[in-house]
């Protein structure tokens, strides 16, 4: 077997396994760390697809950024600083119905797609292409997203400063 | 205790134990901190880990002189100063005349000890704030003082050197030159300390405006020593209530100025100590000049110490503040009661008042800046 194939199955196993742990773990922090393994596995799969820029972005943004935010959120909002962040199961019936429906949909899509299997993709300089696309064809949406994020940041700053000002006034 | 606090706060906040085994509690102080995030909402000092029943033990000694080694062990960083207060109290009780030479040697030793103690306090303070090297530089200087002390007394830390109306042994012939040499080499080191630590911007950021102790609070808590002077009160028992021969010397009382922050912050308390070392050097120089060369330091020591029935309170200025001895005599050979008013204990009691609302890191700075010695707090 090719080395890449072995690696593919390995990373797929890591991704799926940790995803399962993430869903079924009772402890939120454990779930969060399982999510980290899932995201890293996906990044590794990107690398196998020669999408190295995407893989690095995945690591930087999801693992290095969003996951840390999730962890901060869990730890700051929960009661006390203990190991016992427990999840409880609510809405068992509707949730399982929706997930079964989603699974059926995905499997249907998976089976009905006409997959074309190509030879190994050529390794190209993805950064250059990405840059040209973002700054060329998709310049408008790119700028729009930028402005949106800026507005969100300003809003967040405004909210947090007002909150802290109120706190100061109260104390 | 822990449960009580967590009940009060309804489990919303984190209770954390700083000490008794923590790198920056200067011994075995245990602080219960109630934290909201990293902000301290409540502090409760728990003391007593080093309690040795000094006061009770003094009562069952069959001789007043046997208590002196125990006074050393109260504030083991400035043992000479602890002895000084006790022997002065006994001398006043017995109405004894102390030879002049003895007084001069005592003052030199006490001021040297003050420098040694401040060196340790300042060094440990810097260490608390993460500056490691100044600590060791200052320790090197302290070693030199201890070397001088070892030649004089034979011991390096707990001396038992002062006796009632005398000294346990005479100084060696080179004492004057040794001490003068130390004074000469030590002056530039203070400048170096100021370069390295005192006026370092990071250090100022960590200590200015932190743990502000207003004058009024300081007075209400009966603070004394550098802690009180750091709040701008010019109060030094060596000047305000002179004992020994301190009225003969010309020196200033450094007070906090709020130079880089608010008056009475950690930096002011720190700086008062630095400036006090310079003043101590001045006193030592004058005392070295005035010290008589001849005279038996042991001749006036009484054979038996039997004070008249009565009581006395004597306060002296130790490096940490006002150390008071309250002694009651019932005419027997042993004291009926010895009570020590320890400055560290008093200063520790105001910790909750000045550290509320600060961060854990500030807590470390505040504890360091009031410079407590747990041997004295617990006695």
């Amino acid at each position: 077997m090719e080395l890449t194939t072995i690696l593919f199955y390995l990373f797929a196993l890591v991704t799926l396994g940790s995803a399962v742990i993430m869903v079924f773990s009772k402890n939120i922090v454990h779930s969060a760390f399982a999510l980290m393994f899932t995201l890293m596995g996906v990044a590794a799969l990107y690398v196998l697809l020669y999408a190295d820029f995407l893989a690095a972005t995945q690591l930087l943004v999801y693992v290095g950024g969003i996951l840390i935010l999730i962890l901060f959120g869990v730890m700051l909002t929960s009661q006390g600083y203990t190991l016992n962040f427990r999840t409880i199961t609510v809405n068992l019936v509707p949730a399982s119905l929706i997930s079964v429906a989603a699974a059926v949909l995905l499997i249907f899509a998976f089976l009905s797609t006409d997959w074309t299997i190509s030879e190994v993709a050529e390794r190209t300089d993805t950064v250059y292409d990405l840059g040209m696309l973002l700054m060329g064809d998709y310049i408008l949406p790119f700028i729009a997203v930028g402005v949106l994020l800026l507005i969100a940041i300003i809003g967040a700053i405004l909210m947090s400063t007002r909150l802290s000002a109120e706190n100061n006034g109260a104390s | 205790m822990l449960e009580v606090i967590s009940k009060e706060t309804g489990n919303k906040e984190m209770v954390i134990n700083m000490g008794p085994q923590h790198p920056s509690t200067h011994g075995v102080l245990r602080l219960e901190l109630v934290l909201d995030g990293e902000i301290i909402t409540k502090v409760r000092p728990n003391i007593g880990y080093l309690h040795r029943c000094f006061e009770k033990y003094a009562e069952q000694m069959d001789d007043y002189a046997k208590v002196i080694p125990y006074t050393d062990r109260m504030d083991y960083v400035s043992a000479i100063n602890q002895e000084h207060g006790y022997v002065i109290a006994l001398e006043r009780m017995l109405e004894l005349e102390v030879p002049e030479r003895v007084e001069y040697i005592r003052v030199i030793m006490a001021e040297m000890q003050r420098i040694a103690s401040h060196l340790l306090g300042i060094g440990a303070f810097g260490l608390d704030l993460g500056a490691f090297s100044p600590f060791l530089y200052l320790f090197t200087e302290r070693e030199k003082i201890l070397d001088i002390f070892e030649r004089v007394t034979g011991a390096r830390l707990l001396y038992n050197y002062f006796a009632v109306a005398g000294l346990m042994r005479d100084v060696h012939p080179e004492f004057k030159t040794d001490t003068a040499e130390f004074v000469k080499t030590f002056r530039p080191k203070i400048k170096e300390l100021n370069d390295l630590l005192s006026y370092n911007k990071i250090f100022i950021k960590r200590t200015a405006n932190i743990g502000v102790l207003p004058e009024k609070v300081a007075l209400n808590y009966a603070a004394s020593g550098p802690v009180l002077r750091g709040s701008g009160v010019e109060w030094d028992l060596r000047k305000n209530d002179p004992y020994s021969i301190y009225d003969k010397f010309d020196f200033e009382i450094p007070v906090g100025t709020g130079e880089v922050g608010t008056l009475g912050d950690c930096w002011d308390r720190y700086m008062v100590r630095v400036k006090e070392m310079e003043q101590s050097l001045r006193i030592i120089e004058q005392a070295l000049d005035g010290m008589p060369d001849e005279g038996d330091v042991m001749e006036a020591i009484p054979k038996r110490i039997r004070p008249k029935e009565g009581e006395i309170y004597v306060r002296t200025e130790t490096p940490r503040g006002e150390l008071g001895y309250y002694i009651i005599s019932d005419k027997s050979a042993s004291p009926f009661r010895v009570k020590a008013r320890a400055p560290s204990f008093v200063h520790l009691s105001m910790l909750p008042a000045i550290s509320k609302g600060s961060l854990i890191a500030d807590m470390v700075a505040i504890v360091g800046s009031i410079d407590i010695v747990l041997g004295e707090v617990d006695r």
């Binding site: - | 001789d63 208590v67 080694p69 090197t140 070892e150 390295l196 990071i202």
Partner: protein, 203 residues
């Protein structure tokens, strides 16, 4: 803005000043003493361990009484009349066998208080400081130079002498008591006679 620049400049300057100090120390001399290889010379009169020159000890127990922590344990036996223990180097006559002179250095607090009352200056501090032990009981120093048999012999002798003395004393006491009784008897007789005389006189 200008203020911020100035503050940053001051911060950098203070940092560089500090770094200048440390680099000077980097190339400066070191003060470390490589302990087991080189040792510090303790000054004369350093208080590191108690030592007793047992030949000079007269067993007066003053040091044990001066000790605040009771770390000195002395047992003495009076010498018999036939033995002369000699004199100390200071000329004080020795009158006691020192059957035990133990100092528990684990208890000692090096306060020097036992040294001063000694009339013959035989107990003093020496600058020997490397005497740590694995077993605490090894820190009890036995200064008495008497062999156990000797101790037993001395004790036996002293006991015998004491017994003899006691007997002598008892004898003396008995004699005294007898004399006293006789005297009393005589006195009684005398008194009786006197009273008789008086009665006679009254009659």
């Amino acid at each position: 803005m200008l203020n911020a620049v100035k503050q940053s400049w001051l911060t950098f300057r203070s940092i560089f000043t500090g770094m200048g100090v440390t680099i000077r120390h980097f190339f400066g001399p070191t003060v470390t003493l490589q302990y087991p290889d080189e040792k510090m010379e303790l000054p004369k009169g350093a208080r590191a361990r108690l030592y007793v020159n047992i030949d000079d000890c007269i067993g007066c127990n003053l040091c044990a009484r001066a000790c605040p922590v009771n770390c000195i344990d002395i047992e003495t036996v009076a010498s018999t009349q036939d033995v002369d223990l000699g004199k100390t180097s200071t000329g004080n006559p020795k009158r006691f066998w020192l059957t035990r002179f133990d100092i528990d250095m684990a208890k000692c607090m090096y306060c020097d208080l036992c040294v001063h009352p000694c009339p013959t200056n035989c107990i003093y501090m020496v600058s020997e400081y490397e005497y740590s032990e694995y077993d605490r009981s090894n820190l009890v120093y036995h200064f008495s130079n008497l062999e156990p048999e000797m101790v037993a012999e001395v004790k036996d002798k002293a006991e015998k002498e004491a017994e003899q003395k006691k007997r002598e004393r008892e004898e003396m006491m008995r004699k005294k008591a007898e004399e006293k009784a006789q005297k009393e008897l005589e006195a009684k007789k005398k008194a009786e006679e006197e009273s008789n005389d008086k009665e006679k006189g009254e009659e």
